[in-house]
């Protein structure tokens, strides 16, 4: 017992003196970002060539985003996540302001999701995801009695914290991001100790609410269509189901080992719409085959595994909840996005973390990962024992 304690103490002392970064996490992050850049190039090149533009232009932008994201990751790793706590109301408020500001922008494809900043389009919903994670974590972080469980008041405050931006995003409209907020809220509430009885009550209320939404026709018809078309993609092949059929076809045709880089006919011939962004995984599936796709899944699994490990080792409830939020954010995005490309999820427009072309999502995810990493760097000195009990 004494020797064991001695070893543990020595490790703990060493950790506390010089906390090491999580190399698995970092390597998985870098690998996905690098592959993402390559895939963005293969998927964007043909269309850019047709339009007579620089075929590398979209890739160049993605490299810039990746660089900014990497810096964001490192900076966020270095900042003590506990420093954010007093700033949380500001983050939350700022994200709400940006979400409102979106309504002043010109709609793109019928949706107002972007704020134009010179050559870049800011997507406030992405930043709002991080703000909501931080806000929820700080609301739920307060130490609570194991016997009493989650106080109802805190539960309702948390729901309100999610509901306000979710309602704004619903107006954009951006169904996918709304679902992200729902998933985040459920997972973080669960992680924070909400009892199953409380979930049952919430589920009941949710059912009544959902029924009301359908009854009162609050969803736009195309939103309902998108949600239902994935059940039968052939029902409307040229509209809602088209993307899905095309991407499934592209991925399926990659077979076990893929067609090789720049050899994917569907990718090369621009058959998959929005391929560099929402449908980037089709480029992986077609060109690199099942082996490539499985490796990408593995990389995301590694990220989630390392994040859960950080959550287990987090110094306090705040850190644990932030990391749980980040993990659920990444897991949900990954599952819904890849699931969409292989036909088991509806088309929602959630980007694939670190791979889809686009700055807002990349930088937000990188910073979120950096904050989680910051929790790792400031983990509890004794593994297996948390401060929060």
């Amino acid at each position: 017992m004494a020797t064991v304690t001695g070893v543990q103490t020595r490790v703990a002392v060493a950790d506390r003196r010089r906390p090491g970064p999580d190399l698995f996490l970092f390597v998985a992050f870098l690998a996905l970002s690098a592959l993402g850049i390559l895939m963005v190039f293969t998927a964007s090149r043909p269309l850019l060539e047709v339009q007579g533009l620089d075929p590398t232009s979209l890739m160049q932008r993605q490299i810039v985003f990746a660089a900014v994201g990497l810096v964001g990751f490192v900076v966020a790793s270095l900042i003590d996540y506990r420093e954010y706590r007093p700033l949380v109301p500001f983050f939350y408020g700022a994200s709400l302001v940006l979400l409102v500001a979106v309504f002043a922008a010109e709609p793109v494809n019928g949706a107002r999701r972007w704020i134009s900043l010179g050559p870049f389009q800011l997507q406030p919903a992405e930043f709002a995801k991080l703000a909501v994670i931080l806000t929820l974590a700080s609301v739920l972080a307060a130490v609570q009695d194991d016997e009493q469980g989650m106080p109802w008041k805190r539960l309702l405050v948390s729901l309100a914290v999610v509901a306000v931006p979710a309602a704004l995003i619903f107006r954009q409209p951006d169904l996918g991001t709304m679902l992200v907020f729902g998933f985040l809220a459920i997972i973080m509430l669960f992680g924070a100790g909400t009892s199953l009885r409380q979930f049952a009550v919430l589920a009941g209320a949710g059912l009544v609410g959902g029924w009301t939404v359908l009854k009162m026709e609050l969803l736009k018809s195309y939103q309902v269509e998108r949600l239902t078309s994935f059940l039968d993609p052939t029902s409307d092949p040229l509209r809602a189901g088209y993307n899905r059929i095309q991407s499934e076809l592209a991925i399926g045709s990659g077979q076990l080992v893929g067609k090789g880089l720049f050899q994917g006919s569907q990718t090369e011939l621009s058959f998959v719409p929005a391929q560099p962004t929402d449908f980037i995984f089709t480029a992986v599936g077609e060109q690199l085959g099942f082996i490539g796709g499985a490796l990408v899944l593995l990389a995301y699994a590694v990220l989630i595994w390392r994040l859960l490990r950080i959550a287990v080792n987090a110094r306090d409830r705040l850190g644990m909840l932030i990391v749980v939020g980040v993990a659920s954010l990444l897991a949900f995005h990954t599952f819904v996005n890849i699931g969409m490309t292989i036909g088991i999820m509806p088309v929602t427009g959630l980007p694939l973390p670190f791979m889809s072309a686009g700055g807002s999502a990349f930088i937000t995810m990188s910073v979120a990962l950096g904050i989680a990493h910051s929790v790792w760097l400031r983990r509890s000195p004794v593994p297996g024992r948390s401060y929060s009990g």
């Binding site: 043909p46 669960f190 991925i251 058959f271 749980v324 599952f335 699931g339 948390s386």
Partner: protein, 633 residues
């Protein structure tokens, strides 16, 4: 330690999500990957048919009458027109191609997505290529164009091409409504051989349908070449004859201010007596089949249609054959020994007094007088040869009366009509041209049928009707081709040949792929003496009979030509239709010639000179100008 199990639970959830993705990915890429790969490949390959050039049409010596060349055309792929720009594009094409919005609409209105709008010249083609951005979805392609080097010559035999109409589509359900098919003439009757096989070009395309590269091409093969029986030079002579005979007929009418019954239509056919091949076949007015190639405008079409320019009168004109039909009565009388009862002898030499009218009593005791409506004059006593020469109606009435009195209500009462049918009247001869008419050979059966419908008098068939048949009037209708075929059959000794305008079909390499061998419809049992007498008597007509004036300055070969005139009564206010049916050379017949001038007037005066013009050429001479002949029956 709540954190522990809760985080383990989350781990389980996330793991489950990844397992689901992994399994689905396995299914899509490995288990079902091959199927997806096949479907994906199909998506990227598009093919478009290439039009085959239509086969050529040549005359009997090989002179080109129809061929195909390649020319640029505007093709629109409606799939590639950006949404909302179609109307704008139509406006642009309308002004570029000089087509009315209506014409553009109808060109766009096709079941296929790729539509040929119009053939264009090279300059317009370059303009479109240089301004491709202004014409999204518009392509310039080389398409085969029909060309008719000789213009309107033999237009009714050649026919024309066009889009299929509803009737064509009903008849040939596999037809592409956008296709070009033969609509008339041999272009129609040999359409399947002329069509050729369209080729296919397979392309790799991207999602927007833009062509990336060509994968393979199955080239289109040109259709087969038709070698006609038509001789171009004879055809041209015949067409000149028709043009001239129309002006000849109208000269006097204009002078007399008789504009209401100007001759407007005429037709002529030259048959090879020995095998039924059509050496020339023409109708006036004609049309230039080349005008159909780019699509005829509605006004152009109706102008031509009003003149019946598209009607091949030689096979579609139902005319009363008038005195040319006396050849049938002549043969019947000679072969059946049915000479007029009041003739001086019951032989070919028996004479009848052609004094201008025939008076006779019917079975019911009534008497009737039949005037020779054209010749009220005294012609004297004529036997069958002389009656044929002078076209004496009285004699041929007498033959009909003999039949009526001998066979009335017996099986043999329609012996004259039977002979007519044997000689090809009242039936399709089966020429290899579309829309041939049957004509009419009336008999008791037909009249009883018509009487029931109230078309003719309720008593039905009567003796007078048979008498009208005997001189080719009344309800006898025949096409000029039928008259020519029957004259050929009698002159050649009794073989009724199936007429044909195509002698053989060769593929594009010149190999003969099909031959239209001469085909006898039937052998008619004619005695040699009747045949010889018929040939002799035809010459008598041109030498001293009704056509003598017209043939007076025939020149070389005069002794070898023969023919028969005919003048058919039309309804009130309409001038008579002039006929001439001739054979040459009479000693060893080679050609049968028929000329019909609708509302031309007298056969001997108008049609016979045109027949003479054609026969002069056929006998190796040089046709001389048309001068009116004698006003005859």
């Amino acid at each position: 330690m709540r954190r522990g199990w809760r985080l383990a639970g989350l781990g389980g959830l996330f793991l489950a999500m990844f397992v689901v993705l992994f399994l689905r990915l396995w299914f899509v890429q490995v288990a079902a990957g091959e199927e997806y790969a096949v479907r994906a490949n199909d998506l990227t390959v598009a093919s478009s048919p290439t039009l085959a050039p239509r086969g050529q049409i040549r005359d009997r010596d090989g002179t080109l009458l129809a061929t195909s060349r390649f020319a640029p055309a505007v093709i629109v792929d409606r799939n590639q027109i950006p949404s909302g720009q179609e109307d704008h594009l139509k406006q642009r094409l309308s002004s570029l191609l000089g087509m009315s919005p209506l014409e553009i609409e109808s060109a766009f209105d096709a079941p296929t997505t790729r539509v040929k709008i119009k053939e264009i010249d090279a300059e317009t083609a370059y303009f479109v290529l240089e301004h491709q951005r202004d014409y999204p979805g518009v392509f310039i392609e080389l398409v085969p164009i029909r060309v008719y080097p000789e213009g309107a010559v033999a237009s009714h035999v050649i026919g024309h091409i066009g889009r299929p109409d509803q009737a064509d589509l009903d008849e040939r359900p596999d037809l592409d409504p956008n296709a070009t098919i033969g609509k008339a003439g041999v272009e129609r009757s040999y359409d399947d051989l002329l069509q050729g096989n369209p080729g296919v070009v397979a392309y790799r395309v991207n999602a927007r349908g833009e062509i990336l590269d060509e994968l393979r091409e199955i080239p289109a093969t040109q259709g087969d070449t038709l070698w006609l029986t038509i001789d171009l030079e004879t055809q041209q002579v015949v067409e000149q004859a028709l043009e001239r005979v129309i002006s000849l007929a109208n000269e006097e009418k204009r002078a007399a201010d008789e504009y209401h019954n100007l001759a407007k239509r005429a037709t002529a056919v030259v048959l090879d007596v020995d095998d039924g091949s059509v050496v020339a076949m023409a109708s006036y007015p004609d049309f230039d089949p080349g005008e159909f190639v780019g699509g005829l405008s509605r006004s152009q079409f109706s102008a031509l249609n009003e003149q019946a320019a598209f009607t091949n009168l030689a096979i579609q004109g139902d005319f009363p054959p008038a005195s040319t039909f006396k050849a049938v009565t002549y043969v019947t009388a000679m072969e059946e020994n049915l000479f007029p009862r009041d003739a001086t002898a019951d032989t070919p030499d028996g004479r009848v007094h052609c004094d201008g009218s025939l008076e006779f009593g019917f079975d019911d005791g009534s008497r009737q007088v039949y005037p020779d409506w054209y010749y009220p004059d005294e012609l004297g006593w004529l036997n069958i040869h002389e009656a044929f020469e002078q076209s004496c109606n009285i004699y041929f009435y007498g033959v009909a009366l003999r039949i009526w009195q001998d066979f009335n209500l017996s099986r043999q009462e329609d012996i004259l009509q039977e002979w007519a049918r044997q000689l090809g009247y009242g039936e399709l001869l089966g020429i290899d041209l579309p829309f041939e008419h049957t004509g009419t050979v009336p008999d008791r059966e037909l009249f009883d049928e018509l009487a029931k419908r109230g078309v003719v008098r309720e008593e039905g068939w009567q003796g007078g009707d048979l008498m009208n048949v005997a001189i080719g009037q009344g309800n006898v209708l025949a096409t000029p081709l039928q008259v020519a075929a029957s004259y050929a059959a009698i002159a050649n000794g009794g073989t009724l040949w199936k007429p044909r305008v195509v002698q053989e079909v060769r593929d594009r390499l010149g190999q003969v792929v099909a031959t239209n061998l001469p085909e006898a419809i039937r052998e008619i049992d004619l005695s040699a003496s009747t045949v010889a007498a018929f040939r002799r008597d035809l010459h008598r007509v041109t030498a001293q009979g009704t056509a003598a004036v017209a043939f007076s300055d025939f020149g070389e070969g005069w002794g070898e030509v023969g023919g028969k005139t005919g003048t058919a009564q039309n309804g009130a206010n309409r001038d008579n239709t002039a006929w001439f049916a001739g054979v040459a050379p009479v000693s060893d017949p080679r050609y049968a010639v028929v000329v019909v001038v609708e509302e031309g007037g007298s056969g001997g005066r108008i049609a016979a000179p045109a027949g003479r013009y054609i026969l002069q050429y056929l006998m190796g001479g040089k046709p001389t100008g048309l001068v009116a002949g004698a006003r005859t029956d």
